[in-house]
Symmetry: C2
Subunit: 332 residues, 2 copies
DNA sequence: TTGTAAGCGTTATCAC
DNA sequence: GTGATAACGCTTACAA
């Protein structure tokens, strides 16, 4: 009359063997052939399933990893979540997902819940500093915490350089860098650094307007207005945006202002996200290797030997035309 | 020299009280004030965190819910995941996310993992029948399994009617229903039913082309070609697509064919997804109440009294113009 | 009220 | 190779 799920004890009784034997069978430890068969038959018959909680408690290994993300509605984040989940499932790990809406209090609540659940590790993309037990394997995305915490990110600096180089190559003489985002510094800030560095090395003067999330988006409009020349055109001809999303908003803005893209101004974003459905790129962009990032996070997190993991892993990015630069789409 | 996290035993020793007392404090069971203070101080000092696994094993309550989705890259799914996650977090539940890519084998693997983890319940949107322990609370999205499993979905039938009504109201005389999707039947099939029912009740002849996922998308093109009249125009003037995504693809197709939207043909989709970033709708559409769906799933799943939960819950949908019908966008 | 002790389902250590 | 038995960290009767 047991209403709940069968346990190893039940299996042992059914098979007529000792409890320990059943455990061994399920852990792949050598056991007499005849016993193994009996145990497996009994387990099959009872529909037995290992209880991961009990196992985890004993072995302090839970085969569960926590993924902490600001949200899952951004195409980049959702791709990340999906790939990480698949990579984990392949290795027989489960994934606890926490969405934080970038709120520090929620982020901290998540960390607490994670610790209560004794996960085997955490993969986190958070905008705020986290207080996490040093003993818990932790891999950070896009944000460097400390040398003990490997940070997986794209080659943001290289991507920034690439964008600048591309704009110059396509004839831009007055490039501009635009950004919005968290005020907290992260690896993604290097996108602008790379862009500026290349411009400087080529002795090309550039402009930049870098906003934080709280600031008025209208400042971008003002920026453009202040760059209007007497003939109504803009004196800038190339824009690198820190994200595709920003590029998208800037494109809308320029459109309203009657600026032609890409004839008057060429725009390059960063991320490589695409419209769901049509698969159309949002803009010409530097593509992040999302799947590779996901795979790398999982690999590092589950590596046995955590002694010689690099502190920062920058994965290579690629450029793809997306209609907002003077070149055929998909070209290059 | 304990390297791992502190346990209740440690807290008890530190506070100089019995183990049971510590447990009571953390479970909100009445305990002498002086004891409570001592325990809390000790816990604070040691940085103690309840071990949910141990607790779950004993109480067979894990405060964890599994969400099984085909993927998280579709805007509707990701919104669902996000809202469900938030709703659960608010109630102090964690969420295990499984993505199945709609593959029956992965779906079954997930179910197995879920059972091993003794979750408190499952919310699932799956295309294939699942063998899940009847004793485990289960809420299905968009797919009816059995009267014991509540199914949460939109008012698909009503939405279909609404779409038809709208097209007719906007002057369409030759409406068409188009669908693609899983061959397995689900609640979403009622979208077409509602559409057809309304057309019939109004005595308006309609056409329909209903494909399954495996089938050649080119059939849609052929369908349109066969509906060309001698003057090169189409003899259909209104299309209801089973999803926004399909609508999006159909729009691309019609565009290639030189058909003007919405002048020649008006199109209505179903879902209410929007381009990330601009927030632009994909098309005129029937909007699903995603957040409400998420909340409802969580509510039903965590309801104590599971005896009188309805077997099918259809949440109300709304219509919104999105540029592919003859009316101002955002209007009605 | 507080402390004690028996379990929850596993795994791991031993004698056999 | 097999089978008792003691943990793992916690909850919960029950005894003090």
């Amino acid at each position: 009359m047991k209403s709940s799920q069968p346990t190893m004890k039940d299996v042992a009784k059914e098979a007529g063997v000792a409890l320990g034997t059943v455990s061994k069978v399920f852990n792949g430890i050598a056991v007499g052939e005849s016993y193994r068969v009996k145990v497996e038959a009994a387990a099959q018959k009872l529909g037995y399933q290992v209880n991961q909680y009990a196992r985890g408690m004993r072995a302090s290994k839970t085969y569960t990893v926590a993924l902490i993300l600001p949200g899952v509605d951004h195409p980049f984040f959702s791709a990340l979540a999906q790939h990480i989940c698949s990579a984990l499932l392949q290795r027989d790990y489960r994934m606890l997902l926490y969405v934080t809406a970038s709120r520090p209090d929620v982020e901290q609540q998540c960390i607490q819940m994670v610790q209560q659940n004794r996960v085997d590790g955490i993969i986190g993309l958070t905008y705020n500093a986290l207080e996490v037990d040093e003993s818990l394997p932790f891999v950070s995305i896009d944000r460097f915490f400390s040398p003990n915490v490997p940070c997986v990110t794209s080659d943001n600096y290289g991507g920034g350089r690439m964008a600048a180089e591309k704009l110059l190559e396509l004839g831009c003489r007055h490039p501009v860098f635009l950004r919005t985002g968290s005020a907290n510094s992260s690896e993604t800030d290097k996108r602008g650094n790379g862009f500026k560095a290349l411009c400087q090395s080529r002795k090309i003067p550039f402009d930049a307007l870098e906003l934080d999330d709280g600031q008025d988006f209208g400042l971008f409009r003002e920026f453009f207005l202040s760059h209007r020349t007497h003939d109504g055109k803009l004196d800038i001809d190339g824009i690198f945006c820190s994200t595709d999303l920003l590029a998208c908003q800037i494109l809308t803005l320029l459109n309203e202002m009657g600026v032609r893209i890409p004839e008057d101004v060429q725009v390059i974003g960063f991320d490589g996200i695409r419209h769901y459905g049509t698969g159309t790129p949002y803009c010409s962009t530097i593509i992040q290797p999302v799947k590779k990032i996901a795979q790398t996070c999982v690999d590092f997190l589950l590596t046995k030997d955590r002694s010689n993991i690099p502190a920062l892993i920058c994965l290579p990015v690629t450029y793809a035309a997306g209609g907002t630069t003077l070149e055929p789409v998909g070209g290059d």
